[in-house]
């Protein structure tokens, strides 16, 4: 099968991209998703708050998922659920498996929008027994909202970010008695209102500076040991359910098996401001390149990628395929990139490079929503971000840092970047903001 654009993943980013590509008349669009229904993670996220930035209204997760699936289908994108892109064949085609068989799809452009997942317990190297009753928020939500499971008994939530409070609400909904949210950090990372509401409405405290040390229970979970990281004091907490939240990792398997360059910070494919990866005409958007942002931010990233894919297809040789290693196959001279990196305690920045069109006088391409997204490893009530290219300081911006929460860096300084002056570095300039 030949299509103009293959989109892998029918979550907010992939579906929003499909809608935009069709609006821009970019040709035949195929969206493949391995789940049984399109919509991505919002399908099983029953709380409200979806759609503010992209749809300018507020929906629940499932309604938001249905909206995008219907919109993409409505403009003529082909959406195939229960269809897994299992890999790439040598010629740059995708291999798909579904109930109708094994198929090879050739596309002029590919958008990877495979999202992210939470690190499960083994990836966090938590010692102890391996009982049932230990799960991630993703599993919890599907058990409760897609399969109607009840989870009676005491529950403990690991993490104190937005998603951790969401897990707490889901647990309470499923009949669990949530003992606490625990975090190794000195403060919770969500809105103060969430933590106050948790305490006031459900009597669930946040235990800060608290590390999970041991999981107990041969068959079923019976208890965990938690330690106060300041005093070292360990205590046992009896519980029946343990939910690991946040600690996101992009689902980057397809990017890695395609040989696409991975950013060491985000662990997603390294993308430039047009959201193109290191492979020509292969783009990436959504939480694959910034794990994890809200669904509307992912969707707007998908729209951004779609606009650049449409432009690439308009200007490009229709016969050019992704992964064309031979430059003679590519249309025109390659784009120029300036990488953007961060210095600890900043964790990562996305996108990972500034794209310049080939012509020498072309302006740099702006990132999605005209801003870069960053993450910090530390709390700072007031921190100064400094953008440098070599010895030149391009911009300074004052901001608040909370681990796991987005930091927005405006892109007004892009015009000052010189294509041949080397990488741009974003770092903390403490006390000078």
């Amino acid at each position: 099968m030949n299509v103009d654009v293959l989109i892998v993943g029918a979550g907010p980013a992939g579906l929003a991209a499909a809608v935009e590509l069709r609006r821009l008349a970019a040709g035949q669009v195929l969206v493949a998703d391995r789940e049984q229904q399109p919509g991505g993670v919002p399908r099983h996220s029953a709380h409200t708050g979806y759609g503010m930035r992209d749809l300018h209204r507020v929906l629940t997760g499932p309604a938001y998922a249905r909206h995008y699936a219907a919109a993409a289908a409505g403009v003529g994108a082909e959406i195939r659920a229960s269809t897994t892109v299992t890999g790439w064949d040598g010629a740059g085609c995708a291999t798909l498996t579904s109930a109708s068989g094994v198929e090879t799809v050739s596309a002029r452009a590919v958008l990877l929008a495979t999202g992210c997942r939470e690190r499960p317990r083994p990836a966090r190297l938590v010692p102890g027994d391996r009982p049932a009753g230990v799960m991630t928020t993703g599993e919890l939500q599907q058990r409760v909202f897609l399969h109607g499971e009840r989870l009676p008994g005491r529950a403990l939530v690991v993490g104190a970010e937005h998603v951790s409070f969401s897990a707490m609400v889901t647990l309470e909904h499923a009949g669990a008695d949530v003992v606490a949210l625990v975090t190794g950090l000195p403060r919770q990372q969500s809105y103060a209102a969430f933590a106050l509401a948790a305490l006031a409405r459900w009597r669930v405290p946040v235990w800060t500076s608290t590390a999970l040390r041991w999981v107990d229970g041969r068959e079923r979970l019976t208890a965990v040991d938690v330690a106060d990281t300041r005093t070292g004091a360990v205590r046992r907490v009896e519980c029946d359910t343990l939910v690991f939240t946040a600690d996101w990792i992009p689902d980057h398997e397809l990017a890695r098996t395609a040989g696409i360059e991975i950013d060491p910070g985000t662990l997603g494919p390294a993308v430039d401001t047009s959201l193109e990866t290191s492979a020509r005409n292969v783009f990436a958007a959504g939480n694959l390149v910034h794990a994890a942002e809200t669904a509307d931010v992912a969707a707007l990233g998908g729209v951004h990628a779609a606009q650049h894919i449409a432009a690439a297809l308009r200007g490009g040789d229709p016969a050019a395929s992704p992964w064309a290693k031979d430059p003679s196959q590519a249309s025109g001279p390659a784009a120029h990139r300036v990488t953007v990196t961060v210095e600890p305690p900043l964790a990562w920045i996305s996108p990972n490079a500034i794209r310049f069109a080939a012509s020498a006088d072309a302006a740099p391409v702006a990132p999605p929503r005209g801003r870069f997204l960053l993450r910090s490893q530390v709390f700072r009530r007031r921190a100064g971000l400094e953008v440098r290219q070599g010895p030149r300081v391009l911009a300074r911006q004052s901001t608040r840092l909370i681990p796991g929460r987005p930091v927005h860096l405006g892109a007004g300084w892009l015009a000052a970047v010189r294509p041949s002056d080397g990488p741009v570095l974003v770092r903390l300039a403490d006390g000078r903001a």
């Binding site: 897994t84 109930a99 068989g101 094994v102 083994p122 102890g128 049932a132 599907q142 897609l146 398997e253």
Partner: protein
């Protein structure tokens, strides 16, 4: 599922359905005998069998002249052939035994010599330049290496399942969830010792012969059956870390440590599922059920992994687990047959049981025959079953257009990380030896064994289990499988 008194005595009851017990039951099933294979757990292969390094050893480093050496040589050859016929995943990756210190390097010639004494001549010294050519990701500082070309990796879950499946199809009664709680001599007319009357949680069981293959519990079973008490199980816990499949390209071969007086060392090995395994630790424990991982163990493995294969520890961890080896105070296997008491003991198999299993089974059956158990071949031979293929190197159902065309359920991927299809889950739930719980399903299909550990599919898999008659809680205990029960 009857629990009443046992009508006819079995010719042989094998206690313990690990890889050794299942292999013995399979061996005996080829003869005109009524055989029962009983285990306290709800599945085959749930003890030492399921949690090890999953290497099909050549036996190059066994103690020369030992029973272990002989049965390992014999067993690994038999299993290599059996695995090919039964569809058990095996990859002949070869092993590189890497010396990192002068002391280790000096030990290499004696390892080659020991391999020769174990009738294995293919061990070869390879220079350090060739080592790094073959394993470019190896950490700096290796001094020399030996190549053991026939060391392989195997699926430790499919192997006992294949034995048990073949045995059940040949008429062996598999009694799971059936701990043996006591035993007394059962006398025939005139006071002659006819056999054993075993007490189980599901009623008495009479047996003309009993085989003790109880692994971690074999010393207690030995005492129960009046054995000579010549060994005590001293469980040795080994913790292991399994890394994501994206780490698999980092190594070509199994990377073995050179054992020294201080430590047996940590190995890095591919798995047949396409992951990379790091371990084991070795810690003596008292509790025979203590398969917990520890902070110290995981930290020491991570440190060792960083030295051996630095990029490995940057990859995601898919699983951590610990297994218990049934070590004894002796260096060799504890295999003996008491003709008078009609009792066979196959204990102290330590860590080589998977590789040696078919050799052990053949040897035990031979000893029992010598001791008076009549081994008359059954009419019509039973071929090895063809097991569902769960390896990574061959073609899986999701890749097989022909299978999907014949049955679309093989195109419906349920577990995305391991690419397990609805068709494979359905087949496992309806198999000759079906799973009793999620862990059993995981061992048969790889479902939920991947990097997400259930983030995406756990809820769907739980729903499929609940729909299945095999998945109901009733079968978790006291399960009995016979050929008529399931196919």
């Amino acid at each position: 599922m009857t629990a009443g008194p046992d009508p006819e005595p079995a010719d042989v009851v094998v206690i313990g359905a690990g890889v050794v017990g299942a292999a013995i039951a399979r061996e005996l099933s080829q003869y005109q005998l009524t055989v029962v294979l009983a285990d306290a757990a709800n599945d085959v292969g749930t003890g030492t069998t399921k949690a090890n390094t999953a290497i099909l050893h050549t036996g190059f480093d066994a103690v020369p002249g030992s029973l272990e050496s002989r049965l390992l040589r014999r067993g690994s050859g038999l299993l290599t052939d059996y695995a090919r016929r039964a569809g058990i995943p095996v990859e002949r990756t070869g092993a590189l035994l890497v010396a990192w210190t002068d002391e280790q390097e000096r030990a290499l010639p004696s390892i080659i010599e020991r391999a020769r004494l174990n009738s294995y001549d293919a061990v070869r010294h390879i220079p350090v330049a060739e080592l790094y050519q073959r394993e470019p990701q190896l950490g700096p500082g290796a001094l020399a290496a030996l190549e053991i070309p026939d060391e392989s990796v195997i699926c430790p879950w499919t192997t006992p399942l294949a034995y048990a499946t073949e045995a059940v199809r040949a008429g062996v009664r598999l009694m799971l969830g059936t701990p043996v709680t006591g035993a007394q001599a059962w006398g025939g007319p005139g006071g002659a010792h006819e056999g054993h009357l075993l007490s189980t949680t599901r009623g008495p069981l009479r047996a003309r012969w009993v085989v003790n293959a109880a692994g971690l519990h074999s010393d207690r079973v030995d005492a129960m059956l009046g054995g000579d008490g010549g060994f005590t199980i001293r469980p040795r816990r080994g913790e292991l870390i399994v890394f994501d499949k994206l780490a698999r390209p980092l190594i070509g071969s199994i990377l073995l440590p050179v054992p020294t007086a201080q430590s047996k060392g940590v190995l890095v090995a591919p798995t047949v599922y396409g992951n990379v395994l790091l371990g084991p630790t070795a810690q003596d424990v008292d509790d025979r059920g203590d398969t917990a991982t520890t902070a110290e163990g995981l930290a020491s493995l991570t440190a060792a992994g960083r030295r051996i294969l630095p990029r490995l520890v940057d990859e995601e961890v898919t699983a951590t687990y610990a297994g218990l080896r049934a070590a004894t105070e002796h260096r060799d296997y504890q295999i003996r047959v008491d003709a008078t008491r009609r009792y066979a003991c196959a204990a102290g198999i330590r860590s080589t049981g998977l590789s040696a299993s078919l050799g052990i089974a053949e040897h035990v059956a031979g000893l029992m025959c010598d001791a008076g158990l009549p081994l008359r071949p059954r009419n019509g031979s039973v071929a090895p079953p063809v097991m569902p293929y769960i390896g990574q190197a061959g073609t899986r159902p999701y890749q097989n257009a022909g299978m999907i065309a014949a049955d679309p359920d093989y195109g419906r991927i349920v577990c995305h990380c391991e690419r397990v299809t609805r068709g494979e889950i359905r087949d496992a739930l309806a198999s000759t030896v079906p799973p009793a719980d999620l862990d059993g399903l995981r061992r048969r299909t790889r479902v939920q064994n991947g990097r997400c550990q259930g983030f995406y599919c756990a809820a769907t898999v739980a729903a499929l289990m609940a729909e299945s008659p095999a998945g109901g809680p009733a079968s978790a205990a006291g399960q009995q499988v016979t050929a008529g029960h399931r196919r």
